[in-house]
Symmetry: C2
Subunit: 235 residues, 2 copies
């Protein structure tokens, strides 16, 4: 295994900067801040007990993620995430996950396919037992495998970003046991298409999988997640 194979989180969680980054990101996604609220470097630093340096670096990253907007020499302002944003992300993801499944069909390795089968099998077990935490974990992993299997650094990168973006929302969704089982069945169908080398089928199924996830979320998850978040009223 070459050193290039080392998988690295985009931002490490154990540096001060990493902690600031993840904290702020979670807080913003959770709606702790108002839209357009100003984030001051010293204030955030004091709250987390760190200096301005790691805070500033975290700000730069959050800006690229689109969560805050930095106006030079002025300040950092929260962009927030609205219900419409989530919907848009799912629409975008539905296209990209489809493309990902298509490419995965063409490039998946034997090892990845085996892990996928194990994943689906395990998820079926946990679904029957109602182990929601494990199901969420396996669901994450299933998509990760797809991302890795598509053999496209660019697409993998994009999807991972989006995935993280809606992770919180999605986890809530899967807490719905019925959807958890249905979701896994869709995973299985996608896997079967990939196994059969049916790229068109895999693309369509992955696309549908995202639509279903969103539709279900609209019915059960979205409201809870964004309660106490005033941005919801604006969509």
């Amino acid at each position: 295994m070459s050193s290039y194979d080392v998988k690295q989180e985009v931002t490490d969680k154990y540096s001060l900067r990493g902690r600031v980054f993840h904290k702020l990101r979670d807080d913003i996604l959770n709606g702790k801040y108002e839209e357009h609220e100003e984030l001051k470097e010293v204030t955030i630093g004091e709250e987390l007990g760190v200096s301005r340096t790691p805070v500033r670096e975290a700000f730069r990253q959050l800006e690229l993620e689109g969560l805050i907007q930095i106006i030079p020499n002025k300040g950092a302002y929260v962009t927030g995430i609205t219900e419409k944003d989530v919907k848009d992300i799912y629409m975008i993801r539905s296209l990209l996950e489809g493309l990902c499944a298509r490419w995965a069909t063409e490039h998946i390795t034997k090892e990845q396919l085996e892990e996928m089968e194990e994943n689906v099998y395990l998820a079926k077990f946990h679904a029957s037992k109602g182990h929601m935490e494990q199901i969420a974990e396996l669901d994450n992993r299933f998509h990760e495998i797809l991302y890795e299997a598509c053999n496209s650094k660019m697409l993998e990168h994009q999807l991972r970003d989006f995935h993280a973006y809606v992770l919180r929302v999605r986890r809530k969704t899967l807490a719905n046991q019925v959807r958890g089982a249905a979701s896994n069945e869709e995973h299985e169908k996608i896997m079967e298409a990939i196994k059969a080398g049916d790229a068109d089928g895999a693309e369509k199924l992955a696309h549908l999988h995202m639509i279903n996830a969103y539709e279900n979320m609209g019915k059960t998850g979205l409201h809870e997640v964004y309660e106490n978040n005033r941005t919801i009223s604006e969509t």
Copy 2:
């Protein structure tokens, strides 16, 4: 006009950090560095006459853009961009530009449509005169208008990123006069579909527009752009 309407480049170009960011980004995209080459904060800083602080901040952003990989306490390593990456981006963009055109059909304002008409008209003029620089500029702007018109912060953000990513490649491509004219004709068709409220048509045409742009690039532009870039040999 509310303060929220202020359009701001994602990273300002006039701070030291901004300059470092854009310089490194250009250098990486131009293939100045080997893949996996290590970037040292002090070295880069000395070359540009700045301290480590702005360099570090630029590094964090480049990491999120996927151009370098930072291993904590170790170093920053160039990821590079291969010919396959460019191809993947065009495939991804072809989907997203399609979606963008669809949404733009539903949300475009009168002012945006007017600017778009002016854009196409002007481009036709410059194409007849062979003013390549202006054509490239107008082509940029046409897509920018589409991004703004789609009324989706998320999609706009994504497409802007990709657009910037392949800007260098695309500019070279448009230097081909024939393609410049053909590209503008495609713009016009997309605009007509949007004007007619034909979302399906707009989506299909925008999709095709990207495919054509890529195909043409494969024939004329890509090689020139990546000559002297060893990453090309890996694809």
